[in-house]
Structures are given as C-alpha cells and as structure tokens.
C-alpha cells in the first residue's frame, strides 16, 4: 500500500465534476444501484469515494476497474447527497490518465485508447468518423481475430449502406479546433 496523500481529496475536488466529493455520507446507494458492480464487485464506486477521502491516491489512480464504469448515471440518480458520482468517476479516470501519460500508471483497459482516437477524429473533422475509428481500434486491440469476428456484422452493415468510407467534415472545423485548444489549455 502506498503512502496516504491527505491532499488527494482536494486535488479531486478542484476538477470539474469532483466538487461534491465531501458530501458523501457512505450510504452505498451508488454501489447498490450500479449494474457493473452487480457483475464485477471489484468495481465499487462507494469504495473509490472512501479511498479518495482518506487519501489512497496510488490505489485509486492505479485501479484498472475504474474504466469499467458504463456511465449509466444510476449512481448519480440515486445519490441522496448529490455527489454526482458518475462525474466523479470520470475525474478519477482523467487523473489516472494523466498519471499514465507520465508513465506512473499502466492502464490496460483499451477504452482509454479508444477515447483518444475518438477525440482526434472529432478535432480533425468536427464529427466522428465512426466506422474508421472503430475498425482501427479493433485492429489495434484485438488484431485479425477481432476484425474477423466483426466481419459478419461489418458486411451486413456495408451492404445496408450503414458504413461510410469517408469522413464527413463540417465547414467550421476551425471553431471546433479552437474549442479543443482552449479547453485543453485550461481555459486560456
């Protein structure tokens, strides 16, 4: 176990979506209502909140299961203290991602790579070129076997005209890129 970091809760509360952390009174409503916890008990939103409050920074940010959240907002809905748990989990993910970029945490869940590719497609075209981003992701994460598995659906979709081979770019891409730059630069 790593050393406790009493500043961790403030680090989380400074992020958009993490502000309400200290409102939690540990009722477990988030975990009880969570469909993922039901399948995989290692994903436990109440435990993440508790660990964050006591300063278990390394344990939380290095936790692979953080990436299991499906963002169904059940925890958000059922929280009597309005902790906005779904958004809190996203804050923990983003801090974990920052640690990963510094090489201090390894994230195995491929969702993190998919999100990067998705963001890049939106930044470049203004819209996501869904079929290309998905195909590339399957190739990168599951290789030929993954693509072969996807083939029957891919073929059906292609013949039904559901796959666009080319990206559709919007005309004011500059506005979208500006939004990306300003937000990623912390609003400056």
């Amino acid at each position: 176990m790593g050393e406790l970091d009493p500043g961790f809760k403030y680090e989380v509360m400074r992020e958009p979506g993490g502000e309400q952390l200290k409102m939690c009174f540990s009722c477990t409503g988030c975990t009880v209502s969570c469909p993922v916890s039901e399948i995989e008990p290692m994903y436990n939103p109440r435990r993440y909140i508790h660990q964050t409050l006591v300063g278990m920074r390394d344990e939380v940010l290095g936790d692979e299961y953080l990436w299991r959240c499906v963002q169904c907002h059940s925890c958000y809905e059922y929280c009597p203290q309005d902790v906005k748990v779904t958004e809190l989990i996203s804050v923990l993910r983003s801090l974990s991602e920052r640690e990963a970029k510094r090489g201090r945490v390894r994230i195995k869940n491929p969702l993190y790579m998919f999100e990067d590719a998705f963001a890049e497609s939106v930044r470049r075209h203004g819209r996501v070129h869904e079929s290309m981003v998905i195909a590339k992701h399957i190739w990168k994460t599951r290789g030929l076997k993954g693509l072969m598995e996807f083939m029957p659906l891919g073929k059906a979709m292609f013949f039904k005209g559901k796959i666009s081979l080319f990206a559709k770019s919007i005309s004011k891409r500059d506005q979208v890129q500006k939004i990306f730059d300003v937000v990623r630069g912390g609003g400056h």
């Binding site: 993922v36 499906v70 059940s74 491929p110 939106v122 819209r127 659906l153 039904k160 979208v176 939004i179």
Partner: protein, 295 residues
C-alpha cells in the same frame, strides 16, 4: 405547421439510417417540420469522459446553432440529448465547468445564451404532439403485437437535468405504444443500461448487460423491443448475434425504433420506415399484427 430544429448526431446520421428516415417520415405525417442544424458537430458522446468541459463546449456549439435558427431542438439520441441538456444546465447556471466552456465558445466566436429548449424526441412526442393527436393518425393498429418498451439510461437520468420523465418508471413510450394498438409488456429493464459505452473497452460487461435486457424481452414473449436511442439500438440489434455467440443464449428478437413502429401504425410502407436496414430481420413483425384490428 410547427417547426423544430433537429440535431441527428453522428450515430443517427452515419449508421442508424432507419432512425433518421423514420423520424423524418413520421414527423411529416404529424404535420411537423424539422430542420437539421446547419453545420453541426459531434457532441463528444460518451468518449470524452476525461474532459467534461470539452463535452459541454462541443455540445453547446450545437445548441447555439439551434438558438440562432430560433427553433426548439429535437434530439433523437439519448447520449446527445444528455450532453446538450448538461451543456444548457452548466452554462445557464454559470458553474465552474460551464464558465470554462463559455470561455472556449467565446474564443471560438460562438454566442450561446442557453435560451433555446433542448428536447428529446420522446418528450416532443408525448408533451407537444400528445396522445390524442397520435391516436388520430393511427390507420393500422399494431393489434396483437407484443412490444417491450426500452428507454435506456440517459433519456431519464440524471432526472434533475433530463426532467421530462419519471427516472424509475417512465411511461411515455408505453403510452404511445398502447395508443398505436400494441400490447405493451411490463418491462423491468426499461431504464437499465445496455452497456454500449464500454463496448470498445470491456466487451464482456457490455454484452452481459445487453443480454439481460434481451433475455427479459424474450422470456416475457415480446415480439420486438422498441427503442429511442441509436446506442441502445446498436447494442441490442447490431450486436445481438455477437452477444448470442458470447453468452451462448438465443434471442433472435427484432429491435425497432419507436418511430418505425409509429410509421407502420400510421400506414406508412416498410420502406418509408426503412425496416430493411435493421440487422435482425424486422419485416416478420408485420405478420404478427392481427388483421381484424386494422381499418
């Protein structure tokens, strides 16, 4: 004729063509004009979770287009709807994340005042069009057709922001389907998650979540599932065969958009509602509609 602006989103515009087409046809039948937002962008979907301000700002750009056009904005996708509602909420209330997004919009030369209402398709159907008006358009009731109404997550949660429905037991789709003449089953999974957002990260979980929804519908003898979100549809319809392989269960249940079912009941042809575009063959449900109920 009432006019709305319409934000299809990447999913509906890209692969879920049956939703786009059936929306267009059904609104036309109902005497409602819809105008697509000009030069809209991706709202950020559920893939930019690690940067909330970015999702808010990208979504707000779309809402600003609706505002400029001057028409309330219909959103047919649960995810886009949720994002645009959050953008409206955060920017209107000048929250910290709202202020960051507002600054980004300003620097990109976009003016947005969070004044134009953002409406889910279901919200407009139940609250603006209304049951009576829908009833007046039913020409071929869906008598004998058992339908499982599946709402999904983000159309009803968080209910403080997406406030038009009951977050635990929504009934708008049930009521519309009953008006169409269908037999609506009591569906416990109506607001449970399909797991769509984690399909690219953790397939096992998303398949398991969808399998539970499909399983209940089949167990209760539904002829089809009705949905109002392209993500839910992709999971339950597009991925259904893969879910079957993965879980070694057998479903084979068609999943239709509410607007497809409405179109059929309103007497539109199956090509008008693009029934041939569904992955699980959907034409068979037409045979299950009993003829004696028809006009």
């Amino acid at each position: 004729m009432k006019t709305y602006s319409f934000y299809p989103g990447c999913f509906v515009e890209g692969s879920e063509v049956e939703y786009a087409k059936s929306c267009e046809k059904v609104f036309h039948e109902l005497g409602i004009e819809i105008k697509e937002l000009e030069d809209w962008n991706c709202c950020g979907a559920l893939e930019l979770t690690t940067n909330k301000a970015l999702v808010i700002a990208l979504s707000a750009r779309n809402a600003s287009i609706a505002e400029r056009m001057g028409y309330e904005c219909i959103v047919p996708c649960n995810i886009c709807y949720n994002n645009l509602k959050k953008a409206e909420h955060e920017i209107k209330n000048k929250t910290k994340v709202g202020e960051i997004a507002a600054k980004a919009l300003k620097k990109a030369g976009i003016n947005y005042e969070a004044k134009i209402p953002i409406r889910h398709l279901l919200d407009v159907l139940i609250n603006d069009v209304g049951i009576e008006e829908i009833k007046a358009h039913v020409k071929k009731p869906l008598s004998g057709l058992k339908v499982a109404p599946y709402y999904g997550c983000l159309v009803v949660r968080p209910s403080k922001i997406c406030a038009f429905e009951n977050p635990v037991n929504p009934t708008s789709m049930d009521n519309i389907l009953e008006t169409l003449g269908a037999e609506v089953i009591n569906f416990e999974h109506k607001v449970k998650c399909c797991g769509g957002s984690t399909l690219m990260g953790d397939r096992d979980t998303s398949f398991e979540l969808s399998a539970r929804i499909l399983g209940e519908a089949v167990r209760k003898g539904a002829d089809c599932i009705a949905v109002v979100c392209p993500m839910c549809h992709t999971m339950l319809d597009g991925q259904q065969a893969m879910i079957e392989n993965h879980t070694r269960m057998k479903f084979g249940i068609p999943v239709l958009y509410l607007t497809q079912l409405m179109g059929i009941a309103m007497g539109l042809s199956s090509s008008d509602v693009a029934l041939d575009k569904n992955i699980i063959p959907a034409e068979n449900i037409l045979n299950k509609i009993s003829k004696e109920g028809g006009v």
